[in-house]
Symmetry: C2
Subunit: 325 residues, 2 copies
DNA sequence: GCACCTAATGATACCGGTGTCATTTTCATT
DNA sequence: AATGAAAATGACACCGGTATCATTAGGTGC
């Protein structure tokens, strides 16, 4: 090496304050010249902590997973952290053993839990027991602020409600989500709040429960459209079910948006590809991943640090004024 | 420990032949009882090779990425390997430096390259230079067999061709893909071969080049449907473009499938959610990932080892006999 | 029963960093 | 210039495994 001991180089790399500015610069110069980079394995061994972050997901929507990955990696840029993926089956009891062995063996620096895994309190309890850092991504605060990325699904749903109300709709149906998803409650609450702002309320007769799947959306919409006094608009709590509503509208011979306005949630790729292109609430998934990453690891902070994210209503062609001119 | 030295335990763990059967069993028993698992960091440090596999992808289709991840993890079950994800921008020259620093620093056991990254010969050359194991996933053999998972896209396209031909279609259009994707050529060649089997050939006037995106599909189909003697069926080389064909059919007031049959490729989630549900060629993405994983790492081989994968035509409602009754 | 060869095991260094604590340097104070 | 405290640096053990090579155990031939 160039003048100093192994340990001093180590100090420079780890930003220890115990190095003279002069020495520090000299070492840094050598590091730049030689392109030296410490071995993560050896560092991890000595630290008893790997420079890995786990993404533990169980999301039927691949778009979510990939966007979160992207965002996390945005945050890890240049920090030397790697992202390892761990799909789990949230319904399987084995998931806890899987995660336990993962954490105990790999000693990851931390893990990220997107919804719906973020709502798995048994899993979170396990992580606490194992003293493993984590950040949850969910529609609502479930934990201390610096362990949470909150997507404010309610606000997005409220935007959808205001949009439909402002278009003149009064008979607005809701296809809700599975009760064991927090997002389902948040979106519904937000939707009702948005309606209330416009002096409307949700008619219980126009609510059907779905399961966040295409098939349940088809069925729920089929029932709603078969009502004597059928709704003029329907809000589905995710795009899969909204796509199902399209299908049932087609089956019933109803034109979207002339006879039925449809709004979805997620702005999945499918939203823009259906005919007519669907109005939907977009979540900034990549930014959410990035925020989670920034909360978890000591970021190099090249890019501005995010502090919050907000959903956004993307208005396309599946919503029209009622009564239609 | 229980009777033997550190090194002997190490030998047992690494399946060294230099241990007496008796000793081996004794050590294994203790390992089972105590649930001992070697530290991957330490092992990696000593081996100068991490127990990580990188997935280097640049695929606009999140379904592909997530399915490949699933398959790889299927293969890694119990092997102690972890999957780390590395999205790259295949058009950026920086990608090579990114991957070089990843491989040099992390020393991954190997990497998996799904299409289109698998066709990036500069990147593959780099991996060879770095002496990094890799497996490519592509539509056609590009390398030694044990470094390749071949998806036989041509055969899938041929199935689509035979299907349309057997339905009585004669004026069959093709929306091709970008020329810098091997899959684009393979699918096209396979499609022509399938037509030839039925005594048909592709009319150059009915071919439009697309770019594997929704928008290019819209445009290509728009042109095709505006022809004086318009096609009765169209095969798009991926589902995104096929969705675009739906859009243009809607815009032209044409009914699918009565006036236009449409077949896509990939069987993306969107295929089943469009109206009418779309016929498409399904690639066994998860199996492809699993096969790649089995080729790369010494698998525990609990599940049967895969040797090949084949595409499959999923017939839905976007294709009908012509002339329509 | 002894020499001898092979199979099985162990002692020790080492992988590439970090923690601890002793040592040296620096610099303000007297 | 001597003193002492604080700041900077280095020596060495250690993280938890594996490689190398020496050593011991076990079996064979005569």
């Amino acid at each position: 090496m160039a003048g100093v001991s192994k340990k001093t180089v180590s100090r420079v790399i780890n930003d220890s304050p115990l190095v003279r500015g002069e020495t520090r610069e000299a070492v840094k110069a050598i590091i730049r010249e030689t392109g030296f980079a410490p071995d993560p394995q050896a560092r991890g061994l000595a630290f008893r902590r790997a420079f890995l972050v786990g993404l533990i997901y169980d999301n039927p929507n691949p778009q979510h997973t990939v966007s979160h990955q992207q965002g996390l990696l945005d945050a890890f840029q240049g920090s030397g952290f790697e992202l390892v993926v761990r799909p789990v089956d949230r319904t399987s009891p084995r998931r806890l053993d899987d995660i336990r062995s993962f954490v105990e063996r790999q000693k990851p620096f931390g893990v990220v839990l997107p919804s719906p895994v973020s709502e798995d309190e048994a899993l979170v309890a396990l992580l606490k027991e194992l003293d493993c850092r984590y950040v949850r991504i969910a529609s609502v605060p479930l934990d201390e602020p610096d362990r949470m990325v909150v997507s404010h699904d309610g606000e997005g749903a409220a935007q959808a409600a205001r949009h439909l109300a402002d278009l003149g709709h009064r008979r607005i149906a809701l296809i809700s989500g599975p009760p064991n998803f927090r997002s389902s409650h948040e979106r519904r609450k937000g939707f009702e709040a948005g309606l209330a702002e416009r002096g409307l309320s949700l008619d219980p007769a126009l609510v059907r429960q779905g399961g966040y799947t295409y098939e349940t959306g088809v069925e729920a919409a089929r029932e709603l459209l078969a009502l004597k006094d059928r709704p003029t608009a329907v809000f589905a709590l995710n795009d899969e079910m909204a796509a199902g509503a399209y299908t049932s509208a087609h089956a019933a011979g109803l034109n979207v948006p002339a006879e039925l306005s449809v709004v979805g949630f997620d702005d999945a790729p499918i939203a823009a590809r259906l005919w007519p292109p669907m109005t939907s609430v977009r979540l900034p998934l990549r930014d959410m991943g990035r925020l989670a990453g920034e909360l978890l690891v000591p970021t190099v902070q090249r890019q501005p640090v995010l502090h919050d994210v907000q959903p956004e209503l993307i208005v396309r062609a599946s919503t029209a004024a009622f009564p239609t001119s």
